[in-house]
Symmetry: C2
């Protein structure tokens, strides 16, 4: 019998290789190089390539021909990179996956234009192999772009606001992060000719997976290992970000602890030596355990959404993928 | 008998009103307002709305039902505004059509995100009424976005280069400016079910019209009336821009005049009091007359491209439109 975890890993590696190849070829030989060399710089910096994998696995889960989904899968990764380039300008971020961000390596003008260009190249790849369902697939993809912009706008707005509710936070990450994993699964199912029930189920799987992923990200910021995570531990506290963990801490804290947490908002961050102190506050308030439970809760919702999927191995791969996120360190 | 010029004006006004209405309604009631209020700010600042008119007139020219083209026409105008918002950041422009640019009224981050968002809203409107030819129309629209990014990249690259040939300049404006008028005509014809010959003819009409429009813009910068033109006369000289007029002057000048023109590149512009001096150099070299002749030449090419159009009044409207550009003051 096939071991699902081992099968998943070999499939993941195989698909990653194929996606990398498309990503490498897409910007090759395009002119002017003042535009496409910086585009290739960000695209060739390898990430997890999680979103294209969701497209392929979803196409496979509805027993469809997932060969037609490769260019769409690469399109989703390029769309993701468009958001990274523009978000990094807005966040004034110096590094991304260990390399200089596009606007630091080149300049802000180049990064704006490279982002715009990547978005248009993403649509080109999406359209490439589409024969049927063109309007549905492009609409799904484009609605995602609209929502991601709305989510990013909310995120920047929350940075300036005194208070943000947990509901508002969840709405924001549903748009900024989960809209893209939801769309990835949905277009995979649409391209491969899934039934309405399958498309709906896979969309929900992607949405809940995305929410779990973001809460996990907020958690790893304070509990992760710096070498594994690839970012400074406690970075969100340093910047005074209103994360899932922070907002729950603020909700539960009383007296002096509450004042200290409010001080983070007021001062727009803390000094590095204070990170262990706030980590202890988080632990005492139980918000790390609470957040871990929420990650498990959303992953369970994701897996439960797969009840309409009848392809057993296709479904199993999505379950393994969801569970692998629970144990991720980066 | 109908007077074509008067009929054109009444049609233009009628279509403008309809386009304005769609543009006004599109961002209404969308949230968050931190994103859509700045988007509405730029969209509601009325421009010529030339590009949407090209969509409608092209649909009409192939005897198609142009009612299906209104949302696509508005999509083209929104796409145009996306490019204005991002270009204004890159050019560090303070004003646009008499109002503060988005990044000056709000900030650069907002303007980046508003541009991204307008682009995604443009695709939404484009898709709205499409029933047939979906892949063809979206591909035409998207190829235009790709080319506009390439053209803008070349334009920024040329600012830094010591020398640019007239051929390179024409390639740049064919991408940056003419790709959008070409696309506007092409999707109008595609949506209305035009024949391949009609689609090709209208595409060429739009392309040559766009090139003429840009050369005219370069001319008006030095020959226009400040009140009509809405920009500072001689602004391109102040910034040392390598325009059609400037590059031809550089080609024809000799001796001291050539050194003076090369000095503009070297010093990245001139002082305002020098503008009349360089205008005289342009006149002596004959490059203003040469540029006027090129505008007429490209407009003739545009009109000649309409030979496949059999709808007489539809064709006449496009001819009147082309000739009206010849006499424009802004």
């Amino acid at each position: 019998m096939v071991n699902p975890e081992r099968y998943f890993k070999s499939l993941y590696n195989l698909q990653q290789t194929r996606i990398e190849k498309i990503l490498k070829n897409t910007l090759n030989e395009r002119k002017p190089s003042s535009l496409y060399a910086p585009g290739a710089y960000i695209l060739n910096n390898p990430g997890k390539r999680l979103r294209p994998l969701l497209v392929i696995f979803s196409a496979n889960a509805v027993r469809g021909n997932y060969k037609n989904a490769y260019n769409a899968a690469a399109a989703v990764e390029i769309l993701h990179n468009f958001t990274l380039v523009h978000d990094d300008i807005m966040d004034n971020a110096d590094k991304r996956r260990g390399l200089l961000t596009v606007h630091k390596k080149y300049d802000v003008n180049t990064a704006i234009l490279v982002g715009d260009s990547l978005l248009s190249i993403a649509y080109e790849l999406l359209l490439k192999d589409l024969t049927t369902q063109v309007k549905d697939v492009v609409t799904t993809f484009n609605n995602c772009v609209i929502r991601v912009c709305e989510g990013q706008s909310l995120d920047k707005e929350f940075e300036l606001r005194k208070s943000v509710s947990i509901e508002e936070y969840l709405d924001m990450i549903t748009k900024k992060t989960a809209a893209m994993t939801e769309m990835s699964c949905k277009i995979g199912a649409q391209i491969a000719g899934g039934s309405n029930a399958e498309i709906k189920g896979l969309s929900n799987y992607g949405k809940y997976l995305g929410i779990a992923f973001q809460i996990q990200d907020d958690l790893l910021d304070i509990t992760g290992d710096e070498n594994d995570f690839g970012k400074v531990i406690g970075g969100d506290l340093l910047e005074g970000k209103k994360t899932f963990v922070f907002l729950h801490a603020l909700r539960l804290a009383k007296g002096k602890q509450k004042q200290e947490l409010l001080g983070i908002i007021k001062n727009k961050g803390i000094k590095p030596y204070k990170i262990p102190h706030f980590r202890r506050i988080y632990e005492n308030l139980g918000v790390l355990d609470l957040s871990r439970a929420e990650v498990r809760n959303y992953l369970k919702k994701a897996i439960d959404s797969l009840h309409s999927i009848t392809n057993p191995m296709g479904k199993e791969m999505l379950v393994v993928l969801a569970n692998s996120l629970l144990n991720r360190a980066k």
